[in-house]
């Protein structure tokens, strides 16, 4: 058993409990978070338009190659699901990444522009995200429906499929919009560790 995946799974179990809390206490706990946007204004990450049906936080990083390789897939999902009421929000949990660097990154990789910074990893902790890239899906009620990898392309560091065989995030969003039980990822996300970014 290796250290990093074990740590992930432990975190995961803890968060499954906190998610159950969020389900009951969503109105109280979620709005307490305020994250800086790229103009350093504090915003509520859960604040969205009235017709939003789900929010996807995408934890990403400017310098993480695995995270960056997902940009076209994230764009594809955004284009497919934004018209169906899903809001995609890139979240940058590395405090070393400046708003200027993030602006350049959003442009270079053509990410959705509504990015937030999470320099103290408050949202990462709240949502349970430990890796870039990792996705977290919330519904309108603030219930966390999905936490994990975008797809199964990366099996582990250094072990990669030529193409994904399972599109976990896409399946989760389809289920969310259909009002069906949301399938959970069967393996941890692979990429850079958010814990390493802590100052």
């Amino acid at each position: 058993m290796e250290r990093a995946p074990r740590l992930d799974r432990r975190t995961w179990l803890l968060l499954a409990v906190s998610a159950a809390f969020a389900l009951r206490l969503s109105a109280a706990s979620a709005p307490a978070l305020r994250l800086p946007d790229l103009d350093n204004r504090l915003v509520d990450p859960f604040q969205t338009a009235a017709d939003t049906r789900a929010i996807v936080f995408l934890f990403i990083s400017v310098d993480c190659p695995i995270s960056n390789r997902y940009a076209p897939e994230i764009r594809r999902l955004n284009e497919a699901f934004a018209p169906r009421g899903v809001v995609f929000r890139p979240v940058y949990p590395n405090p070393a990444e400046s708003p200027e660097a993030i602006r350049g990154h959003l442009k270079d990789y053509r990410y959705p522009a509504s990015a937030l910074r999470d320099p103290r990893q408050q949202l990462a902790r709240f949502a349970g995200a430990t890796i870039t890239p990792e996705a977290v899906v919330y519904d309108r009620q603030g219930r966390r429906l999905y936490l994990g990898r975008i797809d199964d392309r990366y099996v582990a560091l250094g072990l990669e499929r030529p193409a994904p065989t399972r599109h976990d995030l896409e399946e989760a969003l389809d289920a969310t919009l259909a009002g069906k039980p949301v399938p959970q990822p069967t393996a941890p996300a692979v990429g850079c560790f958010i814990a390493d970014f802590a100052q």
Binding site: D63, N68, N94, R110, G158, L159, R161, P162
Partner: protein
């Protein structure tokens, strides 16, 4: 009378992967041993004292601010930002990327970590990845900016950048770069700069002394081309070329350079991984020349099978191959090559006395790390030693690297969805006579495998001109001229308006002794392209053979006019002049031909002719 033929005009063919290894400083620290001693408390592990020596020695060659890797390990600040990642990647032995098991001996530039070093890194991270006292830091490693081997004598690049798309699967693309030189040069070193290290994962490099690769590249409007490497794209004179991150082959010792002729192209196959945004890719290659021709030439022994046929779902498909060396050989380096499905890769030498030596063993083959493994201490294997390889492949759905889902039957082929299984072994012989013996022994075996691969490719793609051209050449090299004629004929039927195709068929017919038909084909080539020096040369040669000295002289004169550096044409024209009694002109032609540094055995022949012509004779 001697008839010489120019090389063929078109071709395509077999690809194999290459790469290069360079010296990395040994880790100058005691940390590796300390890591396994239980007495050291976790708190004691710090970056400055314990971890930096490992990272500087093993990782910084790529992980520096200008390096090919994504982050730097030169400062605590940047290493700390990736501490868990470093722990995880080293524990899995994904990093440093060194796949050879230690049993195969010491290789140059080996960054493999010891178990103790890996353990120490884990404990550093578990203990909070502390910095420690910066005074404990070892000296920073010297990171070469620019060219590591010195100032290149020649730097070449593709004429324009290729744009790699933002997403999708890995891309394999071949770039053909002319090497402008007005005379024969001897190459002592080649250094590859990826240009865009974010996306260039490795480079297979060959040279092509024919226009075959250039033709392929020209047919694709974008920079480079996607497809098969030409059969004429080869490792030069038994030397590995290529690049994997962090590896630069040292300069060759004096006397071991490889020969670069004018008109040669560099053939660079890039393995690129999309980065998430469109990326320009324009590598650069620096060449380092020496003054002296090689005194010794190594030979590449290639073991491997081209009858690979792996059923869908097969978990444990094995290929084996072997060769008994007929002379003593000194083993310099090995390079295994396979694609995504290979799992276990092994090469073993069994000496005549029954003792064995592992040449290479890789238990978790990863297609993406195509190293050349150069032995720190080359070793001699006596005549009668069996070189053997055994590779296993996993074509089941349980192999995450399997490109087909669900798995499909996989055959031998150059494309990444096909499979290959080769082991290249670079050896030196005691002398040139042994080299000839060894070449004669191994060549038919290798060409027979090539025939297998080509015939299979042609079954899949019977309308490929390039495949017919290539296999025809292989048949010619095997002395099977009838099959060569048949395949060049097939090529001609597919491509009747090509002067080169008529020329090729003419050449095979000449070798088969069918001179009248050959003359017809050369004539057809010249009707399509009157300025075709090699067609003039070969036609002149055949006419000379048939005793038509005057017609022969006209065509050979035209060949020399169109291509003044063509040694064969000069040699043939000299023969024609001598046959007509014009010895002064014959002597002058042979002298200029000798000034063009011809290869053996042509050089010896020319020197013999020079003596004869000076004595106004054509034979002894």
């Amino acid at each position: 009378m001697t008839v010489r033929f120019s090389r063929f005009a078109t071709a395509s063919g077999v690809v194999l992967a290459a790469s290069i290894v360079a010296a990395v400083p040994e880790a100058s620290h005691a940390a590796g041993n300390r890591g396994s001693s239980p007495g050291v408390p976790v708190e004691a592990v710090t970056f400055s004292k314990d971890i930096a020596p490992i990272l500087f020695a093993r990782c910084a060659v790529c992980h520096n601010p200008a390096g090919s890797a994504p982050f730097s390990v030169l400062t605590y600040r940047s290493a700390k930002q990736r501490a868990s990642l470093i722990a995880s990647a080293t524990k899995r032995r994904f990093m440093p990327p060194w796949k050879a098991e230690p049993e195969s001996g010491d290789f140059i530039g080996q960054p493999r970590l010891t178990d103790g070093e890996i353990d120490l890194i884990q404990r550093w991270v578990e203990g909070g990845a502390a910095e420690g006292d910066p005074h404990d830091l070892p000296p920073r490693p010297r990171i070469a900016g620019g060219w590591e081997l010195g100032t290149p004598d020649l730097i070449v690049s593709p004429s324009q950048a290729y744009t790699l798309a933002a997403g999708g699967s890995d891309v394999f693309r071949i770039f053909v770069i002319p090497l402008p030189t007005d005379r024969v040069r001897y190459v002592r070193g080649l250094e590859f700069h990826p240009g865009n290290p974010r996306v260039v994962h490795h480079a297979n490099i060959r040279i092509d002394r024919t226009p075959a690769s250039r033709t392929f590249d020209d047919e694709d409007p974008a920079p480079g081309y996607e497809g098969l490497m030409a059969h004429s794209a080869v490792y030069p004179d038994g030397h590995f070329l290529g690049w994997t991150p962090g590896q630069v082959a040292p300069l060759l010792p004096k006397g071991l350079a490889w020969r670069l002729d004018p008109g040669t192209d560099l053939v660079v196959e890039l393995h690129m991984q999309p980065s998430g945004r469109p990326e320009p890719v324009q590598p650069a290659v620096g060449l380092f020349f020496g003054d002296d021709p090689p005194e010794r030439t190594p030979l590449m022994l290639r073991l491997g099978r081209q009858n690979i046929d792996i059923p869908a779902g097969e978990k444990n498909y094995t290929i084996t191959d072997s060769f008994v060396v007929p002379v003593d050989v000194e083993v310099q380096a090995v390079q295994p090559h396979a694609h995504y499905l290979a799992r276990d890769v092994k090469g073993v030498a069994t000496l005549p006395d029954g003792t064995t030596r592992t040449l290479i063993s890789i238990k978790d083959w990863d297609f993406r790390w195509q190293h050349v493994y150069r032995y720190v201490t080359p070793f001699t294997l006596p005549k009668g030693t069996t070189l053997a390889m055994r590779y296993t492949f996993d074509n089941s759905a349980g192999n995450p690297r399997n490109p087909q889902r669900p798995p499909e039957r996989v055959l031998w082929g150059q494309r990444s969805r096909d499979e290959m299984g080769d082991l290249w072994i670079q050896v030196l012989t005691r002398n040139n006579r042994d080299l000839e013996t060894l070449t004669r022994g191994v060549r038919p075996k290798v060409l027979a495998e090539d025939v297998f691969g080509y015939e299979r490719e042609i079954q899949r793609d019977p309308a490929s001109v390039a495949l017919h051209d290539d296999v025809a050449q292989v048949y010619l090299q095997l002395g099977r001229s009838a099959e060569a004629v048949a395949h060049f004929d097939a090529s001609l039927r597919l491509n009747p308006q090509s002067a080169a195709t008529h020329f090729n068929l003419g050449t095979a017919l000449t070798v088969a002794g069918r001179f009248d038909e050959a003359i017809e084909q050369y004539g057809a080539a010249l009707r399509l392209n009157p300025d075709y020096p090699r067609a003039h040369n070969n036609l002149g040669s055949v006419l000379l053979q048939r005793g038509h000295v005057q017609d022969a002289t006209a065509h050979l004169t035209e060949a020399v006019r169109l291509e003044p550096a063509n040694v064969e044409a000069r040699s043939n024209l000299a023969v024609a002049y001598a046959a007509a009694g014009e010895y002064e002109r014959a002597v002058e032609l042979v002298q200029t031909a000798l000034g063009l540094a011809p290869l053996e055995p042509l050089a010896t022949l020319l020197r013999d002719h020079l003596e004869l012509y000076k004595e106004r004779r054509t034979k002894r």
